[in-house]
């Protein structure tokens, strides 16, 4: 029997790592409550803040969209960035290292599985939000909207893969740093308000986080009238920037992974637990 080719091993690794995140996570039905209904309640709080201060109804849509996208950011932080630290703690990391496959394939499988699993949750939050709050959308262009969404995910999970590589070196700092990157990123990326409110330069700086541009572009494509006064950049510029970020982060992730793995081996950190 001939050995599988490198590409076959790569493919199997990706599928194998994605499988638990797509199938396994759905087996515990508690996700229906914890990952959809409760986040929706949290989003609703921001909706009612805007209602209390008599914001235009489009802001409800901004909040629901931003709230749904928080699922992706949290997935990147906790299921990508901190994952290798977790694998180190449970003893899986050394198995990944000695397995006849690449860590890049494992990261890619994690990313794909995370994207699919989280999309189910985000879709549920958006659908329920649209129905409950009776949000009206005016889609400017469906292809552009899909393009923005897919490029945002690609860039975001590329960033997640980069974080995974960087966090390979960390011990418990990994989970705390992931924790630290929640509210500050919700603030600077404009999850709950148009990012333009921060000012042009801060928003430009925040654009390194793909969700910043993705959210702004999606809001422009779904609520064009209101976003005319709050938009950050033209949708086409944001699409281009997201494409650049996607390629950039994936390339950086690959480079960082090689470097960090070598560094971790030299410093003996690949198998340290309880740091």
């Amino acid at each position: 029997m001939s050995s599988p080719s490198r590409w076959e091993i790569f493919r199997r690794t990706v599928m194998g790592r994605a499988y638990p995140r797509v199938v396994g996570m759905q087996r515990e039905r508690s996700w229906l409550f914890f990952d959809t209904l409760l986040p929706l309640l949290q989003v609703s709080a921001f909706v009612f803040i805007y209602r209390a201060i008599q914001a235009p109804p489009e802001f409800t849509g901004f909040v629901v969209l931003g709230g749904a996208m928080t699922a992706y950011w949290l997935n990147v932080l906790w299921s990508m960035a901190a994952q290798f630290y977790w694998e180190k703690e449970t003893g899986n990391l050394e198995l990944y290292i000695i397995a006849p496959t690449s860590l890049m394939a494992i990261l890619l499988g994690m990313a794909i599985g995370g994207m699919v699993g989280t999309t189910v949750r985000a879709a549920a939050v958006i659908t329920l939000g649209l129905l409950i709050f009776r949000i009206e959308v005016s889609i400017v262009s469906v292809p552009q909207l899909l393009g923005v969404f897919l490029l945002t995910l690609l860039a975001l999970y590329g960033l997640g893969m980069l974080f995974s590589s960087l966090f390979l070196l960390y011990g418990r700092q990994a989970s705390h740093l992931s924790n630290l990157l929640q509210e500050p990123v919700f603030l600077v990326s404009g999850f709950y308000f148009p990012v333009r409110a921060l000012g042009f330069i801060p928003a430009l700086g925040a654009s390194v986080i793909p969700i910043t541009l993705g959210l702004d572009a999606m809001r422009q494509l779904l609520f064009p009238t209101m976003m005319a006064q709050f938009r950050f950049l033209d949708v086409r510029i944001e699409l281009g920037a997201l494409a650049v970020l996607s390629i950039g982060f994936l390339w950086l992730a690959r480079r960082a992974l090689s470097y960090m793995e070598a560094l971790s081996r030299r410093e003996g950190r690949l198998t340290i637990r309880g740091q």
């Binding site: 638990p20 396994g24 515990e28 508690s30 996700w31 914890f34 990952d35 409760l38 986040p39 309640l41 949290q42 609703s44 709080a45 921001f46 009612f48 803040i49 805007y50 209602r51 209390a52 201060i53 008599q54 914001a55 235009p56 802001f59 977790w86 703690e89 449970t90 011990g171 418990r172 700092q173 705390h176 924790n179 630290l180 929640q182 509210e183 500050p184 919700f186 603030l187 999850f191 709950y192 308000f193 148009p194 409110a197 921060l198 709050f230 309880g274």
Partner: protein
């Protein structure tokens, strides 16, 4: 004696887990950045939309509610996540049960660490609000007695709610890791932390009025600002508010301990004390 020792050692352990991963400077940044970022989200929402921006009459009430809400997330998470972390990450939960300690006191001790950190964060937020945002809170006008009593009763009630969630964590998979955070997020909607419960639909108002947290935040606002938020609770006197808090604290203590005992027995029957579900 055993309870006191369990509480003390758990608090020490919780502090070590929370703090010894970083230098004091990094830890200080970590402790400040999160709450301030949360406050700034609210500030920017008001600046973008509200008539009068930060001078909007609701803003001080909302800011104070948002500041003290830090306790809710951190205490609920601290107590409930202790179960998941000890079970899944450190594999120590079974040893906790084997050790000669009081499990309830152990969990409360872990929550005590989070409460201490939350206190620092709340104080930072309040100072930020007073100094940077100009929220009027002159010390001479603060009802310190009411503030202390309300704070204590509310915090104790939160700790017992954390015990309740810890019981749920004991019998659920790793999804329960975020149960404290998720429940805190849900309560954010219902307890009037960031908007008066008057704006909620009537059925949700009724839910909000059944939550001890609603009265806790109202009492804290009255103590600090001299006035609560919204009309629904304005008819309640300060004394009634404090009585509601005291009564709910006792009720939560009884219910949470009873539920945790039930969850514990169920976990033992099903062999869940040392289950692993992180994958």
């Amino acid at each position: 004696m055993e309870s006191t020792r369990s509480l003390r050692m758990a608090a020490w352990l919780g502090w070590q887990i929370e703090s010894n991963w970083a230098s004091p400077f990094m830890f200080a940044i970590y402790s400040i950045a999160k709450p301030v970022a949360g406050a700034l989200i609210l500030v920017l929402m008001y600046m973008v939309i509200a008539q009068g921006g930060l001078q909007h009459p609701l803003f001080p009430q909302i800011f104070v509610g948002n500041a003290f809400y830090i306790y809710v997330a951190m205490v609920l998470m601290g107590v409930s996540q202790a179960v998941i972390e000890d079970r899944e990450r450190y594999g120590m939960l079974k040893y906790v049960y084997v050790a000669p300690l009081n499990v309830h006191a152990f969990l409360l001790g872990r929550g005590l660490t989070q409460a201490t950190m939350a206190t620092v964060a709340v104080l930072i937020m309040l100072f930020f609000g007073i100094i940077v945002l100009g929220i009027p809170m002159p010390p001479a006008t603060v009802d310190w007695g009411m503030l202390f009593v309300a704070w204590l009763f509310g915090l104790a009630g939160l700790a017992f709610q954390g015990i309740f969630l810890a019981g749920i964590s004991l019998i659920t998979a790793r999804h329960g890791y975020y149960i404290g955070d998720a429940v805190a997020g849900a309560l954010y909607l219902l307890c009037g932390a960031v908007f008066p419960i008057d704006v909620l639909p009537r059925p949700l108002q009724l839910v909000g009025q059944a939550l001890p947290l609603t009265y806790w935040l109202e009492a804290l606002r009255r103590a600090l600002l001299g006035d609560g938020a919204g009309e629904l609770l304005s008819s309640l006197s300060d004394r009634v508010l404090l009585l509601i808090l005291a009564g709910s604290m006792v009720l939560l203590a009884v219910l949470s301990v009873a539920f945790y005992r039930w969850a514990e027995n169920r976990a033992r029957e099903k062999g869940l004390i040392d289950m692993q579900t992180m994958y």
